[in-house]
Amino acid sequence: MAYYQEEIECASLETIKGIQEEKFLKQVRHVWDNVPYYRKKMEEKGVSVDDIKSMADISKLPFLSKADLKAAYPYGLLGVPLSECVRIHSTSGTTGKRVIAFYTKEDIDLWDTCCARAIVAAGGTKDDVVHVAYGYGLFTGGAGLDGGSHKLGCLTVPVSSGNTERQILFMMDLKATILACTPSYAAYLAESLSEMGYGPDDIPLKAGIFGAEAWSEEMRRDIEAKLGIKAYDIYGLTELSGPGVSFECSAQGGMHINEDHFYAEIIDPDTGEVLPEGEYGELVFTALDKKAFPLLRYRTRDICRLTREKCSCGRTFIRMAKPKGRSDDMLIIRGVNVFPSQIETVLMKEGYAANYQIIVDRVKNTDTLDVHVELMPEMFTDSVSDIDERRRALETGIHNILGIKAKVTLVAPKTIQRSEGKAVRVIDRRKI
């Protein structure tokens, strides 16, 4: 078993808690002294920095949400003078106004460390060639994995997204062993590989590190088979640095949170009450030592649960389950909570690829749910009733898992637009 920093990744719970508390108390002081926006929120709640004496006192602190980031845009949550900052990154802005996050040199360094741990957990060493097909630029995907790969000492191929054929040739020519990109782009690369007449044995890849969007277990198995790799999930948010807040290990059973840098809580999204370990709720993070953008109790909108059960990889960092989806991605259709990943699970089980689109509309005051999925060539038999049966099987599967009816339409291959970054899976036409 290999680790990037064994002494901390496999530390005892007592050690981890000690580190967390020490960093946390310093961080609250830093925020109180340097971020008037948050200090005001604390004062409004009747909390002073002097009331925070232990890790347990975190429950006294106010939450930060995306709304705070908007209100404080662009500099309101900055914890250091701008002259101390060396970089910014920004969210894709898919759910409203962009968020800008700032980094000091040390912030970048700890982020790179987190990503290096993730690469090692996926079986990487300094001898690997890491093909980074996440977008570079404002998006954190490219920069994060690039930084981690450099830190570990891998040969880094900063190919970014786009020009899929060239990507495949690069992977072959430079003998890439680890691929880092979004899962939907990995699926697209796999599809293009087979179109070019190649199979998993023609590329030297052994592992993939995929994140930045929700993906199902079935999609993982599909990508693994088609690219001949083991696929690892990685999690993060721009607000907290980027990918690498947590990462998967060889056990593929949840993502280890880099607890020496991020403190995780699960709360009831309605009441804000902290829930016990093991329960599903909204994930909340506190950045323990990031200086430029020191978010305390940031509500991620991701619904998942935490477990401290022993992991076969030997790491002691707490694990988070794959989020069911960001609560931003969650649709409320006819009063029912729907995550696109639930629909994806049904499609993959029935043998379809992850090329689908969910269209939600409101007709005569009733929500409609339409799912378009590409028919696989081998499924076509010339018989209308066969296709109808396939369609009905999907409708039944979706109804069983969601409890609401969907209208499924099978469409021709390649008619749903492929994505080089985050896939556009949901079109919500409701005007509410």
Binding site: D382, I387, A412, T415
Partner: protein, 141 residues
């Protein structure tokens, strides 16, 4: 002998049929017979062409899903009762027809039948005096 029919999955939206015929036209493929079934969301085009192998590759390259099926083709004389007398033999032999369509050849009219177990049905019908056209026969008629 049975003949080969190409079926193509088409989305029910403007321009898809034209895209298919354009691909065939460019490859100089002649459509001999054609039938379309349509549903709310999609259609299936079934056709007999002069070069099945080439047509399949051309259509697959153009991004269409295709499927090849064996069909039985019988000449139907232009007089009252001739379709009925053909169908009578189907009935006698208990052969169920999944679908059928007609086309005009150079000298006569023909019906295309899709049945379960095409080879077996063809043999039965041949013993009863019905001779289905082969792919080679199609070039003549």
């Amino acid at each position: 002998m049975s003949a080969k029919q190409i079926s193509v999955f088409l989305e029910n939206k403007p321009g898809t049929l034209k895209k298919m015929t354009a691909a065939l036209s460019e490859a100089k493929i002649n459509i001999r017979a054609l039938s379309v079934v349509d549903t709310r969301d999609f259609g299936i085009v079934r056709m007999l062409v002069n070069d099945t192998f080439n047509a399949t590759s051309v259509l697959n390259e153009a991004g269409f899903i295709t499927s090849l099926k064996k069909v039985l083709i019988y000449e139907i004389h232009d007089e009252a009762g001739s379709l009925d007398s053909v169908l009578e033999k189907f009935e006698d032999l208990n052969i169920n027809i999944e679908y059928m369509y007609a086309f005009a050849g150079k000298n006569g009219a023909y019906m295309v039948f899709r049945v379960a177990k095409a080879e077996e049905a063809e043999a039965f019908l041949r013993k009863n005096g019905l001779h289905s056209l082969s792919d080679e026969d199609m070039a003549r008629v």
